[in-house]
Symmetry: C2
Subunit: 374 residues, 2 copies
Amino acid sequence: MTMRPPAEIGMTLDQIDTPALVIDLDAFERNMKTLADAAAAAGVKVRPHAKTHKSPVITLKQMALGAVGACCQKVSEAETLVLGGVPDVLVSNEIVGATKLKRLMALTRLARVAVCVDDVVHIDMIDDAAAAADATIDLLVEVNMGGNRCGVEPGEPALRLVQRILRSRRLRFRGLQAYHGTAQHRRTPAERRAEISQAIERARTTRDLIVANGIPCPEVTGAGTGTFALEAASGVYTELQCGSYIFMDADYARNQGEDGQPERKFEHSLFVLATVMSRPTDDRALCDAGHKAASVDSGFPVIHGFDEAEYVRAADEHGLLSLKRPTNRLRIGEKIKLIPGHCDPTVNLHDWYVGLRGDRVEAIWPVAARGAMF
Amino acid sequence: MTMRPPAEIGMTLDQIDTPALVIDLDAFERNMKTLADAAAAAGVKVRPHAKTHKSPVITLKQMALGAVGACCQKVSEAETLVLGGVPDVLVSNEIVGATKLKRLMALTRLARVAVCVDDVVHIDMIDDAAAAADATIDLLVEVNMGGNRCGVEPGEPALRLVQRILRSRRLRFRGLQAYHGTAQHRRTPAERRAEISQAIERARTTRDLIVANGIPCPEVTGAGTGTFALEAASGVYTELQCGSYIFMDADYARNQGEDGQPERKFEHSLFVLATVMSRPTDDRALCDAGHKAASVDSGFPVIHGFDEAEYVRAADEHGLLSLKRPTNRLRIGEKIKLIPGHCDPTVNLHDWYVGLRGDRVEAIWPVAARGAMF
């Protein structure tokens, strides 16, 4: 259940209990501004993904820099955001089930809420739920951008769903959900450009077909931290859904920029603070952050600012650090900062953010939608 | 933070919100009895690992079948167990840090508590914390069984730590922590036997050396679900620390028995109940359980009782199911049971167990130590 915070405001870094999810607030604020400035220059809106941070506090900070609201993947995340003061939330995902739809409809009384569909089954279910709740709600049609996850095929199949929405009793058509997930993590700019060019064409032709049928299509929303500059410059996308940019993780840092070097638009601002708990041999140290403190689905954490050791194996509650050469560091009790392999599922393991200004704790924020999977 | 339960007692399976962590109570109870009977027959004690289930309710059920208490990896897990009524808890791990040690000492007032060490640094820190709290505590010396994680080397190095414990002010020596983690998941019985034979020899020679120095060594504790029969028959181990046996996961089910077939001592009793949320093509379905509902560190979940589809890719909130042949099943809204790849970190993602007797919800138990990483 919810654990006590690992720190209190005013503590210094060495006093924080571990493992703890810490934010370098300076880097985090620079990241927020970098995306806000890029979007403003390109003339597109930003609707940052809250599945990354699961925190209405952070969404409101993003909105203070111009974001129009948030997106999220689950109704329970949307509840957490709306009840935390976020006035505009898009559930950028398909939602199935009577309980979830009833809760979604209740949220439409409190905020501007929208949800995605990729099948007539969704449209009919949501229309029924809206009628039962005497509510109305905006829908976006999710189109398969090539990532082959959810999403109706572009063109005619998408148009048919839009027409079905227009024949419903309670639903409004807002536009297209056009996110290409797998393209975000292609390592070279050429690969990302190739996949996003295809996505832009799919979105453009689908939007044009809808408009040619006399139906307004005000929004085309999508894009992520790996590719947003391409969607922003497309003239097709109206909204960017980047999430990870505020934190950056080790996996995104493996993306290359145009010069073949690691892409460095954004800085690492999120770390799992860990403690060395065992030092059995000269070439081996164990820290107290394993699977239950940092997700390894996109690779192991990377030790921040210390390249003489590597995180090479995770157990539930242990991280095995392999030392490349003799060092006086990594003694029992020493704290290290780990850059998570994948920030979103790592955040979801923790109950609290510890916000650091330099080495001092300035903020303690709840990961309010931690575990919000419904 | 803590989410509402996905079900209520008395509901049927089709009414449970998803993703949900469900227990087949009949299989779960059979698994508990199978280990209890095997240990009783071998004349060894059982101290099941609570890092698997994180629930004092489940530990008390294990104790009702003869277990002597629980082990766990973290002080915050020990707190949850002790405050939930468990009278005997071993923290089978090294604990570093003043805050954690202060909390550990407080627990010694409420229950029989022990902790592991593999370095003089630990012994001195714990002795200081015990003195400051006017407490005493039992220590086990963790010995490296060949898994090369924590643990002092066997023989003389272990003896020197035991002698240091005897020279302390506040510490008692209880025995050896002798768990071999990597051996649990070796696929063939021959591989597991080879590694555990080595572990047994390391434990035996270390214990004998300690005893030869006139020091009683009452406990040798270790073993897991993959190898416990070997440790139980060794004549060296006094306690088994199996955890996963109550649930079984897809990874443990890949271990082979003596006949070369998958080992079937224990049944799958833990599932992530998921809903099909999108069905874009004939060969592709998406369910609502991704990284945030089931850990993939030991492979993707396996669909229970349905081999016409395979879980082939996970995103944060999506599981991609690949269909091998046309089927009328996996329509939008259909529920499926997923066998987690690795039960321990999967349990840690959920706030509630939903206990099923057949298709009816009989119990709702909190995952009380969810997030207990301190």
